[in-house]
Amino acid sequence: MNANRKGLVTFSTIDPDAALRAAVAKTRTEMIAEVTASKLKGRGGAGFPTGVKWNLAAAAKGDAKYVICNADEGEPGTFKDRVILSEVPDLVFAGMTIGGIAIGSAKGIVYLRGEYAYLRAQLEEALARRRAAGLLGPQILSKSVGFDIEIRMGSGAYVCGEETALIESLEGQRGEPRNRPPFPVDTGLGGQPTIVNNVETFACVAAIFAKGAAWFASIGTEKSTGPKLFSVSGDCANPGVYEFPMGITVAELLREVGGEDAKAVQIGGASGRCVPASEFARTISYEDISTGGSVMVFGPQRDMLAVAKNFMEFFVEESCGQCTPCREGNAKLLEGIEMLEEGRCSARYLDELLTLGEVMQNASKCGLGQSSPNAFLSIVSHFQDELMGRTHGPAR
């Protein structure tokens, strides 16, 4: 596995039809066992074991079950799903079909973010091709199982990338995350068992069935298997989508993309964390720095307070607004950043803000609120002397 370069390597070599054929030759139990054996974890960032999720959904009782592909790729700095969907959509559809058969679902939905509307026509064409080829529809590969996929568009709300908010949105509601438990595998779309997986996760599933769980598990580290796509942007020579095995160090990654002189890297997007140069030896994996794949490189000249401010502005606007810590907390953190900008934030109040950040991590209702202070907290902890005691306001 030597894929340290720009573009899609592993995925472009997978035959989605072969994956689907290999899958339907197995029983449902064997299919889920295969996914479990690959140790695949969710590629959206949270890293929940896919096999476990599918097993729960397969065991859950329901009148209908659903397979949802989360293509609401809204995390700042993430664009690998766009590339997968435009270059190898059949992998995703094959992965969804496999998921559907495995859990006993006849209906898949791709929730495509509104910003990617220009991809819709070609995705519809790909679906039509698959139906014509008997890869979707009432009898997949002439077997007695049916599965079809519908595309539903998002309407400009980052929070809908949270799986229960996504389901609410599909039900015609505001994209407000639900209380969990119950989880979607038990009570999802329309109250029925539902699996929600990331675009890349479904592509990985196709890869696993085409090449085997053992092959997949042989890539990466013990706990973080398989290849991973990274969306690289910011101050580097060659931004773009990269594929690396899990477990790569930040330094190695920066070398590959031409960003060696970075002073910090934001890994995991706005909800991820800021890693300073002193920690570039850390690895990107579920056991160390977990990420959905966003890597933003900050060169030596960057003002880290401006970076923190941009992220906080993002969350103030994209919070769904239902729970107190996230709705009010993000606004308070942004206000604090403005105080820092203007050089009028006391050390004591900064301390209050750090505690507030922790409270938001602990007490928010969903992943958005729980991760929204991450960037601020990590930037403050690593660049405090850059932030305090400013003598002039921001350039407006």
């Binding site: 799903d81 509307a117 309407s155 599909l170 994209g175 931004p239 773009g240």
Partner: protein, 175 residues
């Protein structure tokens, strides 16, 4: 609103509800159709949609105000959404923004008097490796410079093709 136009809107909503189903889960697709064709989800449209789906108008209003791509106020024929998230910011979105404002004579959140252009901010549109990036309706423009702004606007002004209204090819294909 003219009576004939209200009737047209009413008929359209009826048709869309028939296509997506008369249940709450059809709400957002129906609103997206309304937005695409009428450049807004008007008060009348919200009441009509609510009535068809058996929900309250305020619930529709609640949903419309939640999603960035749905608007209760009229939006221009071309909605320009400039990404303001960090990668595009570092790539120079500020100057692009300034030039857009200069060339259109409006600020962000406004619509030109002729009803052609609306200027909006977008949060990360997934073009971080090619920033600054912006969307004009459903079409994406990348590596935009302040120089290129004029060309993009001219393209809009001259174009009544795919840029002018939403891409409804798949809609027609399904009929």
């Amino acid at each position: 609103m003219l009576v004939t136009e209200q009737q047209r809107l009413k008929d359209d909503i009826g048709r869309w509800v028939q296509r997506y189903g008369a249940q709450r889960s059809a709400l957002i697709p129906v609103l997206q159709e309304i937005q695409a064709k009428y450049s807004q989800v008007s008060e009348y449209a919200m009441q009509e949609a609510a009535d068809h789906l058996g929900i309250h108008p305020v619930e529709v209003y609640s949903v419309v105000t939640f999603y960035a791509f749905l608007a209760e106020a009229y939006q221009g024929k071309f909605v320009i959404r400039l990404c303001r998230t960090i990668s595009c910011d570092m790539a120079g979105k500020t100057r692009v923004a300034r030039q857009l404002e200069n060339d259109l004579g409006i600020t962000f959140g406004q619509t030109t008097k002729d009803g052609k252009f609306t200027l909006e901010w977008a949060n990360c549109i997934g073009m971080c490796d090619q920033g600054p990036a912006l969307l004009v309706n459903d079409h994406v423009f990348t590596s935009v410079t302040s120089e290129k702004v004029h060309d993009i606007l001219e393209l809009c002004r001259k174009s009544f093709g795919p840029l002018a209204v939403h891409d409804n090819r798949h809609e027609e294909a399904r009929q």
